[in-house]
Symmetry: C2
Subunit: 371 residues, 2 copies
Amino acid sequence: MGTLAVVGGGAIGQGVAWRAAEAGWSVTLFDPAPGSGASWVAGGMLAPLSEGWPGEDRVLEFGAAALARWPEFAARLQAATGVDVLVAAETLTVALDAADAADLRTIADWVGGRALATAVDHDLRVLDRAGVRALEPALARTVRAGLLAAAEPAIDNRRLLDGLRKAGAEAGVRLRSEAVAHLDDLDFDQIVLAAGAASARLLPGLPVRPVKGEILRLRHRPGATPVPHRVIRARVHGRAVYLVPRGDGLVVGATQYEAGFDTTVTVGGVRDLIADAEAILPGIAEYELSEASAGSRPGTPDNLPLIGRHTDRIVVATGHGRNGMLTTPLTVDAVLGELAGTPLPAARSADPRRFSTPAAPAVPSSPGGIR
Amino acid sequence: MGTLAVVGGGAIGQGVAWRAAEAGWSVTLFDPAPGSGASWVAGGMLAPLSEGWPGEDRVLEFGAAALARWPEFAARLQAATGVDVLVAAETLTVALDAADAADLRTIADWVGGRALATAVDHDLRVLDRAGVRALEPALARTVRAGLLAAAEPAIDNRRLLDGLRKAGAEAGVRLRSEAVAHLDDLDFDQIVLAAGAASARLLPGLPVRPVKGEILRLRHRPGATPVPHRVIRARVHGRAVYLVPRGDGLVVGATQYEAGFDTTVTVGGVRDLIADAEAILPGIAEYELSEASAGSRPGTPDNLPLIGRHTDRIVVATGHGRNGMLTTPLTVDAVLGELAGTPLPAARSADPRRFSTPAAPAVPSSPGGIR
């Protein structure tokens, strides 16, 4: 044990700082505005099984391993702080046309048929029109099929940030509200770089880039359609949309653009999110539009993050793309393992050095849309 | 002269306070949050001529009188504070279908043919497709006709509030940031009630009610369609929409509901405003959606405001509906006239006592839509 600098105060940086402090490290967290980036904007959907697609074995295996670590992580956070982050227990993906309905069957067959290294319930249930209606009666009558993932919950990302901040402070994490210009400036025994999409500014050459996403927060109003019980996912006009329940409403996400570091909310983005969400849940016109925001996801070339040792003194934890919330517990465990000299086997596919060696084959990307 | 309490710190209350202080009154302005109500939410369109409709003679005459007082009011405010509130010089109403095009001709003929008591350029010019395109090339190709009002400018309502606040402070207006519970509590020689839609709470029976309106503020982004030079008005799917230029973007308004005191921004309201604005100016999808807000317009039964003496001690100035910005200069002059014992003839049709006497015939309302 010794001194540790964590650069970046999103969910992953704060999670690492908390757990490293508990493990005996003397931790300083650097961030000019902790918890204000992509982790704040996020929706909190944890759906690696529903997002499975034939050929993406490594992404599925990694996502399942991440999902499996959530219950213990959430329980530990609640024990430390009293903060309960869970907001839904299941995920329901719905299809509006025959092609999407066929895709749901493909996903169920493929994901259900894998022999996963992680013990997680990956038996996805295909539902017909009546089956969907019985679970979520407020959905549009045009919904013709569904895919129920009973093991995929959702969390409130803002409660998570609040809980992690409290847990870190309790464990002795020192916060320095400032930007880091160069990692060399940091006089610490070890450094964890968890600066999300901005990480490549501090480690040039790191294969991480910003992928812009816009998201809406809606508040339920008296008399409006009730909030669904489950996370609802769908593809509308070829665009992925998801609705994540909150105590008082819904989060609707998310657009996806390659737009550099741009967190402007556009008229077109809001228009598309509303239209797509309304196609799934017609009653939301009566909800309050309480927030529209945008963030920069840290994207990588192969849809797997970058977690592991970069040098003797630097560990990276970035590149989580759309799955930063899902992979927080696994990433925290993997970073703690690196710091202790015992790398986590489940995180091996996220080795940040994989792009500089000829070993690892590229993971094909999904046909898009529903992911 | 003596002591004066102005209740309500919107544009009208602040305008009255400023000018009354200049005239020698000892003025105290009461508002728990000055300049945060309907005046803050407004768009700033001044279009009484373009909104003319056969039969609405009194509304047109009143609006023209209000419009005619703007140049001097704006010049006086600029001289006092340096604040220039003008953001556009002309208003262009456009038609997307044959029925709307015919309505534009009806408006031009009727408004142009009136013998107005006020000297204002009310000669409206009907434009064909090419004529509209020559003026505003970014408008949708579906626009088939236009109506140009060369004498209808627009103002920036937030700059107006800023200027009025400065002018009032300079003139010696005292601000009390508190709500007034009863007018009887105010120990002043005279009281001006300018509390907008909330005025009936202080004077029960006053025929003013809240009419909810939602509005968007868009910011131009590099590469996006340029901001139009003029105010653009239209009817889309039977709903009125207007775009008011700003230095850095556009204001898009406005929905209209009878919803009580509710300033919640709804998903459906934002959806409709975006869709209607995009039908007129297709390039706005690339603009930033920088704000969505809602306010309570003070509506009256006949679309004319309530300006005049209520008792020996109380003057009312409310009920301005969608035209609070337009009618601010005229209202200020009318209130100053009442305080001086010389009522303004141009404001006679807004006498607040008109509903309690059998004299005044009701003004028919327009067929809706384009107003």
